[in-house]
């Protein structure tokens, strides 16, 4: 249990570092997926600890919502690349809001 929670925290921290530090937009998206996976691991280990089937159902719903999130995020990245001809994050510095 302790091992699993440590691994979950490490995956979340590595994903957060990747989102902040990397320059490529697609790499940042993948690091967000890594963060989600890390949090999911702690959810699964707690559900397995309690023997709760509701936890497994919740994990399934989280998987589907993550798939929907990627299905929205990828077209937005495609639009950004079409507008700027670049995957570099510094090129998007004139985005407002």
């Amino acid at each position: 249990m302790h091992l699993l929670l440590t691994l979950s925290a490490a995956l979340f921290a590595a994903g957060l570092l990747g989102v902040i530090v990397r320059r490529n937009v697609l790499v940042m998206l993948m690091c967000m997926e890594l963060m989600l996976n890390g949090v999911n691991l702690s959810l699964v280990s707690f559900a397995q600890q309690n023997g709760a089937v509701a936890g497994a159902v919740l994990v399934f719903l989280v998987f589907v919502v993550a798939a929907a999130e990627i299905a929205i995020a990828i077209p937005i990245v495609l639009l950004l690349v079409r507008a700027k001809r670049s995957l570099d994050l510094d090129e998007y510095a004139d985005l407002k809001g």
Binding site: M1, L3, L4, L7, A14, G18, M30, A56, L61, D88
Partner: protein, 168 residues
């Protein structure tokens, strides 16, 4: 005994994949490292005895999300500055925040380590109990998720249409 060894093995390979994601240069290699991490996490779930979630991890994440991501990387084969310089200007503040986060998480884990139960405490549930609970009690959530997926597809098409409409 062998399950514990497998658990440690898969945990170590998941962590190695995550570290590899931070240092390699090309997005395709980052995607492959992420796939390795996700497969190792599926191995961790299987070693814990929750085979349903391990199967879902492989099917949904590796089979759907990462295949999509790999195709997009192949579509956008761009040779720009993000390949030569992989780290942004936020490298030093990012590392500082990372150290702070690791310190806080590690301190919390260390303090709670005493009253934490062992790994073998829970009773694993099989496919049967999962599917009975899923389709008897949570069928409404299942239907809501399908509506969410339809909405996501419509939104993706709308985003692409808006982009091509404003350009041409």
């Amino acid at each position: 005994m062998i399950a514990t060894v497998l658990l440690y093995l898969f945990a170590a390979s998941a962590l190695a994949g995550a570290v590899l994601m931070l240092v390699v240069r090309h997005p395709m290699r980052v995607a492959l490292a992420l796939i390795a991490t996700m497969l190792s996490l599926a191995g961790v779930y299987a070693a814990l005895g929750v085979h349903v979630i391990a199967v879902f991890q492989v099917l949904i994440y590796v089979g759907a999300v990462m295949v999509f991501m790999v195709y997009v990387i192949m579509l956008l084969e761009m040779r720009d500055r993000s390949l030569a310089r992989r780290y942004s200007a936020l490298l030093v503040p990012g590392l500082a925040g990372f150290a702070l986060l690791v310190w806080a998480l590690g301190r919390g884990l260390w303090q709670d380590a005493a009253d934490m139960p062992g790994a073998a405490g829970g009773t694993p549930f099989g496919v049967q109990s999962f599917s009975i609970a899923f389709l008897n009690e949570y069928w409404l959530h299942f239907e809501l998720v399908s509506i969410l997926l339809v909405a996501a597809v419509v939104a993706a098409i709308a985003v692409i249409k808006v982009g091509s409409g404003s350009r041409g």
